[in-house]
């Protein structure tokens, strides 16, 4: 049982990284990015492409790091020139555009890389383990993922609570009109938020590609996990998203333990139960 819990927590670390970008974009501009999972996979393939382009000369970690600023710029441009045009009361345009992007990405990746699953070679790191007392051992990579997840969550929380940029995010999300009255350029603020979200997406993609194989059609499932983590945890709080991701990871592991075919299904069911019993999530941040 303890092993299941530990595996669940480690999985939750990964799901946190899937979900943080989604939480950020929705929090700042009420935009639901249905291509979230596909962008994560795109990030993974970007690293894979980068690794194959540089041969064996550059370590995968460095390639992943190099992808981050590219992701930042890409996210900024995407929001500024495409997604900003879809914002408004009607959720349909942003949904259709991001859904369309999802299809475009999946098929583009299919064309460029074929349907075969690929992975990022970490030189054995993905199989290394640390003994944790008794007969249990945990993988080094999952621990690294968890650590990154914790750092990312803390960093986002700090950014929002203590910096001027974070203040603009909160202001523009509260009341766009008055924020613009103060002198903020909402379009640029939104673009910044998405840029940061895409850095998180790239990190998540790189780690996913290192821990397991990725293939072009993996995106949608990751989106659902990210979404479930955000809802279970409660909207408005990044630590809430982390908690939600942990719970999701643990429930899935419990499900896998009971029957390998039902793991993901179990996670979905728990999500639906939380939705029915406590739709605001377990740790929502209440607004004044």
């Amino acid at each position: 049982m303890v092993e299941t819990l530990v595996q669940g927590v480690l999985l939750g670390g990964l799901y946190t990284l899937f979900a943080l970008g989604q939480s950020l974009m929705f929090g700042v501009m009420r935009l639901t990015n249905t291509a979230q999972g596909d962008f994560i996979i795109l990030g993974a393939f970007a690293v894979i492409a980068g690794v194959s382009l540089t041969g064996d000369a550059v370590a995968p970690w460095l390639v992943a790091l190099a992808v981050l600023p590219v992701a930042f710029g890409f996210g900024y441009a995407l929001q500024r020139y495409v997604l900003n045009g879809t914002l408004g009361k009607d959720p349909l345009p942003s949904l259709v555009v991001t859904f369309g992007l999802s299809i475009v990405i999946q098929n583009l990746l299919l064309e460029l890389f074929s349907a075969d699953p690929r992975a990022i070679d970490t030189g054995g790191l993905s199989t290394q383990g640390i003994a944790l007392g008794g007969a249990m051992s945990v993988g080094v990579l999952p621990l690294v993922v968890l650590a990154i997840a914790l750092v990312a969550t803390g960093a986002l929380q700090w950014l929002f609570a203590r910096t001027a940029l974070g203040r603009s995010f909160r202001a523009v999300s509260d009341d766009r009109e008055i924020a613009e009255l103060m002198g903020l350029n909402a379009k640029k603020v939104y673009a910044f938020a998405t840029a940061i979200a895409f850095v998180l997406i790239a990190v998540a993609g790189a780690l996913q590609g290192m821990r397991t194989t990725v293939s072009p059609s993996d995106g949608p499932l990751l989106l659902l996990f990210a979404f479930e983590a955000v809802i279970i945890g409660g909207m408005g709080s990044f630590w809430g998203t982390l908690a939600g991701a942990m719970i999701l990871g643990i429930t899935q592991q419990i499900g896998f333990r009971l029957d390998p075919g039902w793991g993901i299904w179990f996670g979905h069911i728990v999500f639906l139960v939380v939705l029915v019993l406590r739709p605001q999530g377990l740790f929502p941040k209440t607004r004044g």
């Binding site: 001027a164 203040r167 909160r170 202001a171 509260d174 613009e180 103060m182 903020l184 607004r287 004044g288």
Partner: protein, 238 residues
Amino acid sequence: MTALLSTHALKAFYGDAQALFGIDFSLVQGELVAIIGANGAGKSTFLKSLTGLVRAPREAIEFKGRPIGGLPPGDIVRQGLAMVPEGRRLFPSLSVEENLLMGATAARRGPWNLQRLYALFPILAQKRHQPGTSLSGGQQQMVALGRALMSNPEVLLCDELSLGLAPIVIREIYAAMPTITGEGMTVVIVEQDVTMARQVSQRIYCFQEGRVSLEGDSGDLTREQISQAYFGIEAAHG
């Protein structure tokens, strides 16, 4: 004296509905002008047009000699025209101090900063880290006013400062006016409370159904003139 801020035949629409039918307005530096009128007369719409929240034709509004109609709100506040919006509209996710800091986004030079504001409204210093919207109505109004002052504007527009507040609180807020205008700031107040408007202002405009129905020095206008202009009732012929 040349007008600091003026409008000429300003029209404004909400979709297909016309709210302003041609407003002529002018303001010289250092004045405190009041705009009065019933609900729906177009007072708030007028202020929103000035600050860029409602579209206006370019040449219809002039500020410091330059046309500003239709500019984005950010540009207008950076030029020195700030507004305290109707209903306060503080940011619920921000603390009192953070709300005030948002006002400084325009980064204009001037005498107003956090310290000075806390000296003017000491209660805000006490509650600086509390969420903005957890304060009482009057205190929130102080925050909203302070937030606009933080941009160090040349012209301050105040939309219904007294809305929903008890008389004693209204007096408290208007007691701060002399400090604000003392250094030459030009102020426009939109007020439902006609008595208060006549007391604090030098000139009054009365709006009625999207038009200026009366304009004059506060001291010269009679109560009867104002009532008639306010309600749009034609003078009875004797």
